[in-house]
């Protein structure tokens, strides 16, 4: 693209991020394909499941396929409580995988919904130990505030169930979080189409993370590129400050006719 709009970089954990599309590295048909996909969308932040990283086995590990310079956010997938998430984060750091942690605590195999209470607890411990903690959460205002207090570096509310591709089913609650908290909000999970990603960015999300939609696409590299473009479009739209939508059909309400309303 020749024209680039002026935008502040996203600042998290002392790093500056220009590409607001984050990519999950699971579920790809091969590590080569994953690497190609990272290149195609220019992702600056990727998530890695510690349990897939094989930090103990040197060559051919997932980590070898992620170019240097890219921020590796290690997720604690598999942790069922705060204690396990903390343990995984420490293992990741000891294995030289950095200190960016997506705090993921799930104790339900059917829906894979995060346990907010345990997530707050883990975030507090990890932030205290100097980790850049990005908690994955069910969007809720009180939980968001508690995570801010716990020292989270950003908040990662889910759009809908992991892997469902159903889009922003939780939009109203994410909107409240956007309005009431100052931390960057990164929408994660359930993002099935580039249009969902654009919608999240238009609302004011700081970034969007997707994995399944891309890894399960016929052409993952092209899909990732589409997401990156949609995220950029959504971001530009947010900064452009569009008029709010007018509900023409409900114009009979006298409030809608107030002359001084925007």
């Amino acid at each position: 693209m020749s024209y680039r709009f002026a935008d502040e970089p996203l600042r998290i954990g002392g790093r500056e991020i220009r590409n607001r599309f984050f990519l999950g590295t699971g579920k790809f048909g091969s590590k080569e394909l994953m690497a190609e996909t990272i290149a195609a969308c220019g992702a600056e932040v990727v998530t890695i499941a510690l349990r897939r990283a094989e930090p103990m086995s040197a060559p051919g590990s997932l980590l070898d396929f992620i170019p240097p310079g890219i921020i590796r956010m290690v997720n604690t997938s598999g942790a069922r409580n705060a204690r396990e998430a903390v343990r995984m984060a420490r293992l990741a750091r000891e294995a030289g995988m950095g200190n960016w942690i997506k705090v993921e605590v799930i104790d339900d195999g059917k829906y894979l919904l995060p346990d907010n209470t345990e997530t707050i607890r883990a975030t507090e411990i990890l932030a205290g130990e100097g980790f850049v903690a990005l908690p994955y959460m069910s969007p809720d205002l009180y939980v968001a505030r508690n995570l801010v207090r716990a020292g989270a570096a950003a908040l990662m509310p889910l759009g809908s169930l992991i892997g469902s591709g159903r889009g922003l089913k939780t939009a109203d609650f994410i909107a409240i979080m956007l309005a009431e908290t100052d931390l960057p909000v990164i929408v994660d999970a359930g993002i099935g189409r580039p249009s969902h990603a654009a919608e999240a960015m238009e609302m004011g999300a700081a970034a969007v993370l997707a994995n399944t939609a891309i890894a399960a696409a016929e052409d993952p590299a092209r899909a990732a590129r589409a997401f990156a473009l949609a995220v950029e479009a959504g971001r530009a739209a947010f900064l452009a400050g569009f008029l709010e939508e007018r509900a023409e059909a409900s114009a009979s309400s006298p409030l809608d006719r107030l002359p001084f309303e925007r």
């Binding site: 579920k27 890894a215 399960a216």
Partner: protein, 343 residues
Amino acid sequence: MIPLAEWKTFLENGSPDTWDEMTRRASALTRRHFGRAVSLYAPLYLSNYCDGGCAYCGFNRFRPLRRRRLSLSEMDREMEALSASGIRSVLMLTGESPAMTPPGYLLAAVARARRRFVNVALEVYPLEEEEYRRLVEAGVDGITLFQETYDRSRYRELHPVGRKADYDFRRLAPERMARAGVRAITLGVLLGLADAAQDSYSLFAHLESLQRRFPGVGYRLSFPRVIPVDDSTFDPILVSDRTLVRLIVSARVLFPRVGITLSTRENAGFRDRALEIGVDRISAGSRTEVGGYTRSRPASGQFAIRDNRTTEEVVMMLKQRGFDPVFSDWCPVGGVVAEGSQA
């Protein structure tokens, strides 16, 4: 769930078009929740001593068999050989003999495996809750236990002696595992012992009730077909490839995020095709004899394996088919009894 009679009719006589549609759905769900990653594991037989008299099984106590149990140093050599093949996930098995392979022996095996593998699982006789707890503390991640059949009278007929004759002790074992903090539980029936429709129906109901009460456990299903040993007089009920495919498809549609494992009881061609419809975990390079990986003095196996490919060959096949072979899909947080999962 639908009534049993309806399920039986659908499984046996459902229209091919409906099953085609179900299969497409299963395939899409598998891609959605497991992507193109296929995890690999291998069994390691610790002992073939058995008190059970199961007519269909190669370990059955009435068979004149050279019995063998690995010593601790033999265990080390087997584990060394297995981990040298690249395998990081091990399933250790014994016959049903609490006397020859007591919990203390299992604990020693788990502790040794813990040093070499990222995922350590057991497939052994049902234990008491406290015994499961001790295994969890020693580092066991998963337990596999097949009910064999949920048909009580058939169960009694097939398991006349030993502790295995106690249907309920076995049926309630997964609950004891969950309470003890076992993170991954694999359930299954041995297809060919009783009516497949009825057994699969009971298996799904069992899983559903466990999921409700212990939602934090990672469940897996397995659909082994019985393979009688050569000299056996046992006559299994035939379960066709078509029925097996339908069971895998149904499991995936009913439980989209529950893992499905397929062992080397099935031949290479079937296993490769099953990956497209619902299976997300397969064994590779399996030896079912005690001592099979070091081949020093291999004793008889539990069943004849039908997929003789080495781990390398399985990896090649997966890559050719566009799958990512995953050796490590587990983070050993060792000896942690998970909180919050006790209903």
